[in-house]
C-alpha cells in the first residue's frame, strides 16, 4: 500500500517538481515537430509527474485523485488517433493520410502538420493513462493484502 512520504524535504521538492515536470512534458509534446521528443515521451513524462505525486503525497490527496480520475479516460488516446484516421477516411482519402482531411483554408502541408499534432496528443494521452494505470494496479495488489513490505 502506498503511504504519504513523511519527509518534509521530499514533500517540498515534489511540490516544486511536479508542475515543472508537467510544464516540460507539455513543451516536449508540442515541440516534437521541431526538436527531439514527441507524443510518446511527452505522455510518459506527464504520467511520471503524476506518479511522483501519487507516491509522495499518498492516497486521497489532490494529485492522487487527479491521477485516478484520469484512469477513466483509458482508451481516449487511442480513440483520438483512430478518429483522426477516420476523418481522413470520411473525407474520401486513405486511412491516416492527413492530406485528405477536409479543413477549409489550410493547404496540404498544414493539414499534415495538424494531423501530426493531433495524433501526437492521442499517443500522449494513451501512454500517460497506461503508465498511471499500471502503477495504480501495482499499488492495488498490495492493498489487497499481499506481504506489506
Amino acid at each position: 500500500m502506498i503511504r504519504a512520504h513523511e519527509s518534509v524535504i521530499v514533500q517540498m521538492l515534489s511540490r516544486l517538481l511536479v508542475p515543472l515536470v508537467q510544464l516540460y512534458a507539455m513543451f516536449i509534446l508540442f515541440f516534437g515537430q521541431y526538436g527531439p521528443g514527441g507524443g510518446f515521451v511527452g505522455g510518459v513524462m506527464f504520467a511520471a509527474s503524476l506518479i511522483l505525486g501519487m507516491l509522495v503525497f499518498g492516497p486521497e490527496t489532490p494529485s492522487w485523485n487527479v491521477a485516478t480520475r484520469l484512469l477513466k479516460g483509458d482508451g481516449v488516446g487511442l480513440i483520438i488517433f483512430v478518429a483522426v484516421g477516420g476523418l481522413c477516411l470520411i473525407a474520401g482519402g486513405e486511412f491516416l493520410n492527413y492530406a485528405e482531411m477536409e479543413i477549409p483554408g489550410l493547404d496540404t502541408p498544414s493539414r499534415r502538420y495538424l494531423g501530426i499534432i493531433m495524433t501526437q496528443i492521442g499517443v500522449a494521452a494513451d501512454v500517460a493513462v497506461t503508465a498511471i494505470s499500471i502503477v495504480y494496479s501495482l499499488s492495488a495488489v498490495q492493498h489487497n493484502g499481499g506481504p506489506d513490505a
Binding site: G75, L138, P147
Partner: protein
Amino acid sequence: MTFSLEMPLLILLILTAGGAILVKDLISAVFILGSYSFFLALVWAWLGAVDVAFVEAVVGAGLATVFFLLTLFGTASKDTRIRRPPPPIGALLGLPLLGLLLLYAANDLPQFGDPGSPASRHVSPFYLENSWDDSRTANVVTAVLMDYRAFDTLMETVVIFTAGIACALLLRKGHG
C-alpha cells in the same frame, strides 16, 4: 566526434549490465538497471539518435524503475531461493565462439555515418528532403513516426493500450 568518451561509456554499460545480473539484492539490481538505461541513453545521444535517447532516459531509467520497485514492494526483495546452476559446457565454449564470429562479421558492416551505406541511400534521403515540404515538420523522426509511418505508430499505441488493460485485468481483481 573528437571527444573520447565512448570507451568509458561502453565499459560502464557492460559493467552495469553485469552488475544488475550478478547482484543478490533485487532493489540494488533495479537501481543498477536504471543507471544502465541512463548510460544507454548517453550512448544513443552520442550516436546522434536524440529521440531514442529521450525515450530510453524517460522510460528505461524512470518509469521502468518505478514499476520494478513497486513490484518488489509487493513481493520479497531478496533473491535467496534461486540458485544459479553452473553454465553448461556447451554454452561456455559455444557462446564465445559465436561472439567471435559476430565480431568477425561486424567488420563487413558499413562505417558509422557512411553516406554510401545502404541504410542512407534507400528511403532516408526521401524523408530528409521532403519532410519539411510535405508536412512543415522540421524533426524528420517525428514526420516519419507520425505521418509517413503513422499506421505502425497506431499499432504501437494499440500494444501499449493492451498492456495497460492486461495489467488492470490481472492485478485489480475485485478492486474496482
